[in-house]
């Protein structure tokens, strides 16, 4: 197979192996619980038996995903302290995610005997249409998210494996566009190129010196009478995959396979309990990992002299950022990253969208008593403040340690998405404990795995419970449901894994799109379902569809804006002119996958507005079922 590990990877892999064995063991143990009672209720909801610790760590581990441990660190590294404002609404997420809907959702689910979130809508309004639409929206958004999350898992494992580059031959080194040197290699799988940005504006390319033993090239530049050398690894070893141009990197493919097999296996076999118990393990790993990284990061920053005084630790990091670029320690951040309107939007985004996620709602339907909810609230408040403040500290220090090495376009060592795994390796090597990189890398791995497991089960429940059992075959036996559940979970996982072989580039945008889409589709419809007697099934349908559609539309418009930028003739130009009236159209875009921020506000703002208005207006326009309302809204007794 030609797999060659690099030095030090063996120790990292050992720690990963221990972690994966722990996860697998929990999955096997959870399977015994699935055998009790009603299969569907046990497999998808744990028979409403969640206690405080499992509820808290499961909710936290599911919410904190690859986005938090890979995407967020890369944004902190690139944009500096403004990311504190970007994420700070997590200070209220414990309250909003658990209390806004918590007890009331649990009560309504018990009244109807509901097992899934679409079940709650279906039972409350006695409407298959509402249940089916909710299921289809979940399927649409969660599938996108899953591909992105699988990619994250593959990337983390790829870093842990750190396979040796391919045995290659450097054939040419030529200056390309945008002051980048293009190195061309002959590799076992064909010709590959690596680009190397020039280190300074006045540097000139001088020479290359390949080292076939280390499989890297020493590239030498001259800048006046100074010489600057960079070490560039040979291209990554690849497998040829018939339907993918350019093949797939061996490290990524192997990483993806290990990740996918583990998470699909324990989710399929153990269901809800496997997912939640492994969440507890993963929650602990994440917390320990991030605290350890923060301690190591603060100690790894070089001291700096400021006004005659030596500053160390985090103060030194902040001071270095100030000297490198003052925008890194003030708002709105480099490249106008977070203007006021967007700061407002992101505060709403995390706090409100967390409450609107179907995966979060399922956990609220499954706690066993009110005390479990209250205690979980306390645990989760502590968890979030420690985790997110630690991440801010770690990756602020990362920018002080690596001021340009991982910056987009000019980084000599990689792209910003790589900063988490690279920082884990650097800190542990710097501290003299390289084996601990495995523990630190297990943290983002655990984050992705917990989210993927929850989403896999969510998709499976939508297909099996909401579409198959309650729409297609209501008389299915427990045995049939068991087989269908296992098969569905496994097949969905495999299909998503194949999709992740050639995944999208911009993980963070995919994750934001799916999170925003789900919360805009479900938050207000659920709030009104639970608290407003006057809500009708038509109102809920309108709210779900308008919320989800608004988010999709704004992302499509953003893509069109990028795709037609610069067009002067033809369809592109015509489209630009036709849409020029939209506030925010034609502005500077960070990425072609970024949405259109209409009037400076994130799509989530507009999605929530649309969903809120449609639910209320259509409900007022239509007639509620008073009999059902009486069932679900307890009357005051004398």
């Amino acid at each position: 197979m030609g797999i060659e590990l690099s030095e030090g990877s063996g120790q990292v892999m050992l720690v990963f192996l221990i972690y994966v064995c722990g996860v697998a063991a929990l999955g096997v143990f959870a399977h015994r619980y699935v055998s009790r009672g009603s299969f569907v209720k046990e497999y998808f909801l744990g028979n409403r038996g969640l206690g405080p610790w499992v509820l808290a760590l499961s909710a936290a581990a599911t919410a904190i995903s690859g986005g938090s441990f890979l995407g967020f660190p890369s944004l902190i590294y690139t944009n500096g302290w403004i990311m504190g404002l970007w994420i700070c609404s997590y200070m209220v997420v414990p309250l909003t995610a658990m209390i806004w809907l918590g007890k009331r959702l649990n009560q309504v689910a018990r009244i109807g005997g509901s097992v899934t979130m679409p079940d709650v809508f279906r039972d409350r309004f006695k409407s298959s249409a509402v249940g089916v639409v909710a299921s289809l929206l979940i399927l649409f958004f969660v599938c996108f998210n899953l591909v992105a999350q699988f990619k994250s898992g593959g990337l983390v494992m790829q870093t842990a494996l750190r396979l040796r580059p391919a045995a290659s031959e450097l054939t040419s080194a030529k200056e390309g566009p945008d002051r980048k040197l293009v190195l061309t290699f002959n590799t076992p799988t064909g010709e590959e190129t690596q680009t190397v940005p020039f280190p300074t504006k006045t540097a000139k390319f001088k020479d290359t010196a390949p080292d076939n033993e280390q499989r890297e090239v020493r590239v030498v530049f001259s800048d006046g009478d100074k010489e600057i050398a960079k070490r560039i690894s040979y291209p990554a070893a690849k497998f040829n995959v018939p339907w993918i141009d350019g093949g797939v990197e061996k490290g990524y493919l192997l990483g993806l396979l290990i990740f996918a097999i583990t998470v699909i296996a324990y989710t399929t076999y153990g269901g809800f309990w496997a997912v939640t118990w492994t969440d507890v393990l993963q929650g602990v790993v994440m917390l320990v990992g991030v605290i350890l990284m923060a301690v190591l990061a603060i100690n790894a920053v070089e001291p700096i002299l400021v006004n005659g005084e030596t500053v160390t630790g985090l103060g030194a990091a902040t001071e270095r950022l100030r000297q490198h670029d003052p925008r890194l320690i003030t708002g709105p951040g480099p490249n106008m990253f977070l203007p006021l309107g967007m700061a407002f939007s992101y505060f709403i985004m995390w706090s409100v969208s967390s409450a609107g996620q179907p995966s979060s709602m399922v956990r609220l339907m499954s706690f066993r008593d009110s005390k479990s909810l209250s205690r979980a609230l306390v645990l989760i408040a502590f968890y979030y403040v420690v985790t997110y403040v630690s991440l801010l500290i770690v990756f602020t220090c990362a920018r002080a340690i690596f001021p340009t090495q991982y910056m987009p376009g000019i980084g000599t060592e990689g792209e910003p998405d790589a900063i988490m795994p690279e920082m884990a390796r650097y800190l542990t090597t710097h501290a003299g404990v390289p084996w601990a990189a495995g523990l630190l890398l297990a943290a983002p791995y655990a984050a992705v795995m917990s989210t993927v497991a929850a989403f896999l089960l969510l998709i499976s429940s939508s297909l099996v419970r909401d579409l198959y059992q309650r729409t297609i075959n209501p008389n299915a036996t427990d045995r049939t449901l068991k087989l269908v559940s296992y098969a569905t979970t496994a097949v969905v996982g495999i299909v998503v894994m194949l999709g992740a072989l050639n995944p999208p580039t911009y993980l963070q945008y995919v994750i934001v799109f799916t999170g925003a889409g789900q919360s805009c589709a479900f938050f207000f419809p659920m709030v009104f379902t639970l608290y407003w007697r006057r809500t009708t099934r038509q109102g809920v349908l309108a709210g779900m569809i308008s919320g989800g559609f608004t988010v999709v539309l704004l992302f499509v418009l953003g893509w069109l804006d990028s795709g037609t930028a610069g067009a002067v003739t033809g369809f592109g130009a015509g489209l630009r002119e036709a849409l020029a009236w939209l506030p925010g159209w034609g502005g500077e875009r960070i990425s072609s996958f970024a949405p259109l921020n209409l009037a400076g506000f994130d799509p989530i703002f507009w999605g929530f507005a649309a969903s809120f208005l449609c639910t209320v207006i259509v409900s007022l326009w239509t007639k509620p079922d008073e009999g059902l309302a009486a069932k679900y809204f307890p009357a005051k007794t004398a």
Binding site: L85, T318, G331
Partner: protein, 113 residues
């Protein structure tokens, strides 16, 4: 013996607790975004915060407190700690310990509409 008023009490308490959370959420929004904007952002001479005397025009050089920029301390860390303490209090003493009723029979059939 189950309390016949329990379902209604749960509904009333859940609604009250949701309103409390909404108020806390709004306070957090104004505090965090407001303080960070006033103390941490660059302002033009014509901006509202400058005309109200809350900030000066131009980019302010932040002080460093415990390694953090000062606007991060006052606009993010202090509210975060405050609200976390409130959350602990709320979880321990503010949320009513309502009785959750038994599960209805699991639904399996179609629903007409």
């Amino acid at each position: 013996m189950p309390d016949p008023q329990a379902p209604r009490k749960l509904f009333d308490h859940a609604r009250r607790e949701a309103w409390v959370v909404t108020i806390v959420w709004a306070i957090a929004l104004v505090w965090a975004v407001g303080v960070c904007y006033v103390m941490g952002y660059e302002h033009t001479a014509e901006s509202l915060v400058v005309s109200l005397g809350l900030a000066e025009a131009g980019r302010r050089e932040p002080g460093i407190v415990l390694g953090f920029p000062d606007w991060v301390v006052w606009g993010i860390l202090v509210p975060w700690v405050t609200i976390s303490l409130f959350t602990v209090w709320f979880g321990m003493w503010g949320i009513a310990d309502d009785e959750l009723q038994e599960d209805a029979a699991e639904q399996g059939g179609r629903h007409g509409h």
